[in-house]
């Protein structure tokens, strides 16, 4: 594979290969991004499973093998928390669906957090072009939340 890299050196004007200079920093960045994803996902799963358990504990009828139907819970118009206020209220009264909602919010926030961490790691690698690229992606992403929420 060294041969491949050598032949590519002739391919037009190109900046010095930053990655070869700070291979160690790049590796640390990869591990940081992987860790953010892993933590986000673990917290989300723990919250969702706890919420699911709580929902079944509070409604013993749900856990039977007959006599009740999933349908009222999953049809359009079924009541469940879907705004920050409702989520807070559901959590305050110990509704399992509030906990599931919180877990889902963590899950949705994980990719956004991943982009934010990437901005930091590219800055750490002293790579201005990629720092600007990820900063732009983060700005569009955060902006879309405001546009969508409005």
């Amino acid at each position: 594979m060294d041969a491949a890299i050598a032949t590519s050196a002739g391919g037009g004007e190109r900046p010095p290969r930053k990655r070869e200079v700070n291979e160690e920093k790049v590796r640390q960045s990869e591990i940081a991004i992987s860790l953010v994803l892993r933590i986000g996902v673990s917290v989300a799963v723990a919250l969702v499973m706890a919420g699911l358990g709580l929902t079944f504990a509070r409604h013993p009828g749900y856990a039977h093998l007959s006599g009740s139907s999933y349908h009222p819970l999953t049809r359009l118009g079924a009541k469940f928390p879907h705004t920050i206020g409702q989520l807070g209220h559901a959590l305050a009264i110990g509704d399992g669906r509030g906990l599931i909602g919180l877990g889902l919010v963590v899950l949705i926030a994980t990719p956004v957090l991943r982009v934010a961490v990437a901005v930091l790691t590219f800055a750490y690698e002293k790579d201005p072009p990629m720092t600007i690229v990820t900063l732009f992606v983060l700005a569009v992403l955060v902006g879309s939340f405001f546009v969508g929420g409005a």
Binding site: I5, S29, S34, T55, Y70, R75, S144, G148
Partner: protein, 291 residues
């Protein structure tokens, strides 16, 4: 008649516990498949929810968005650590997917969804054909005169467990790739589906990334594209916790399993699995556009 009985049973005989357990099992499969081919698993989740459980399409799409983010984050944690994902190319191309998603949200009112489903179906059919055609191709580029790729240093290398060697590759066709990613972002906002089906061909066909790197990088990117619209779906009440909980947990588990497999299978196998999934999605899209 029989269909009516099954429907009665499904609606009145299935308790919440049975629903959650069955959906969890199906979601594990969706996660394994999604993590291998770089799609979100919505391909599996949406038809199961609408056809088997008769759940409204709007709630099914909400669950599909959750599935996309779960597949992406679950699998990417492994792919990034194993250096299967091309982080730089992925983040660079996100410029196009996120701006595409934002413009798509504005265009929803202008384009008829039907026409889009048909267009998307046709594009996917073509991609399936093109990828099938080059299914045995293994050669990677060793030089690239693509100025953008060189400036941002988007080239990469990964260790291929199936071939037992480190493979270095060069990236080309950045402009075409960006254009396809922009369309992919738009499509996912307009149709409410993950757009890995367009992202993988953009990287495999236009930019010459190895197939496995393409699916791993697509996996990495789809979470961000989906997150751009997930907040909106959540606030509108399309993400039902009783549906989303088993989907999120099952898909995450499946994605973690699947991400351990990708390294070990060949690029040709990944292409063939991808083509099969693509054909199914294309049929689903054409059907939604025509019916």
């Amino acid at each position: 008649m029989l269909d009516g009985i099954i429907r009665m049973y499904v609606q009145y005989g299935v308790t919440p516990l049975v629903f959650v357990v069955v959906l969890l099992a199906i979601s594990v499969l969706a996660g394994v498949l999604g993590s291998l081919v770089g799609l979100g698993g919505g391909v599996v989740v949406v038809p199961v929810l609408t056809l088997l459980f008769h759940i409204d399409i709007r709630l099914a799409i909400g669950a599909s968005i959750v599935s996309v983010i779960a597949t992406s984050s679950g699998a990417a944690a492994t792919y990034v650590r194993e250096r299967m994902t091309n982080l730089r190319a992925g983040m660079f191309l996100e410029i196009a997917t996120t701006t595409g998603a934002v413009s798509g949200a504005y265009l929803t009112t202008v384009f008829p969804a039907r026409a889009l489903f048909i267009l998307f179906g046709v594009v996917l059919s073509y991609s399936a054909f093109a990828i099938y055609h080059k299914r045995h191709a293994t050669a990677v580029l060793t030089t690239s005169d693509d100025r953008i790729a060189n400036y941002f240093d988007l080239h990469g290398s990964y260790y291929d467990e199936a071939e037992k060697q480190e493979i270095s590759y060069k990236v080309t066709g950045t402009k075409v790739g960006l254009a396809m990613m922009y369309v992919a972002g738009m499509v996912s906002a307009l149709l409410g589906i993950g757009s890995g089906a367009l992202k993988v061909p953009a990287m495999d066909l236009a930019m010459h990334l190895p197939m496995k790197v393409s699916t791993a990088t697509s996996n990495f990117m789809i979470g961000v594209t989906a997150a751009a619209s997930a907040g909106f779906y959540f606030a509108r009440g399309q993400i039902d916790p009783i549906i989303a909980a088993p989907v999120a947990v099952g898909v995450l588990g499946g994605a973690m399993l699947g991400s351990r497999v990708l390294g070990k299978i060949t690029n040709t196998s990944v292409r063939i699995i991808f083509v099969v999934v693509l054909v199914v999605v294309a049929i689903e899209m054409l059907q939604r556009g025509v019916l």
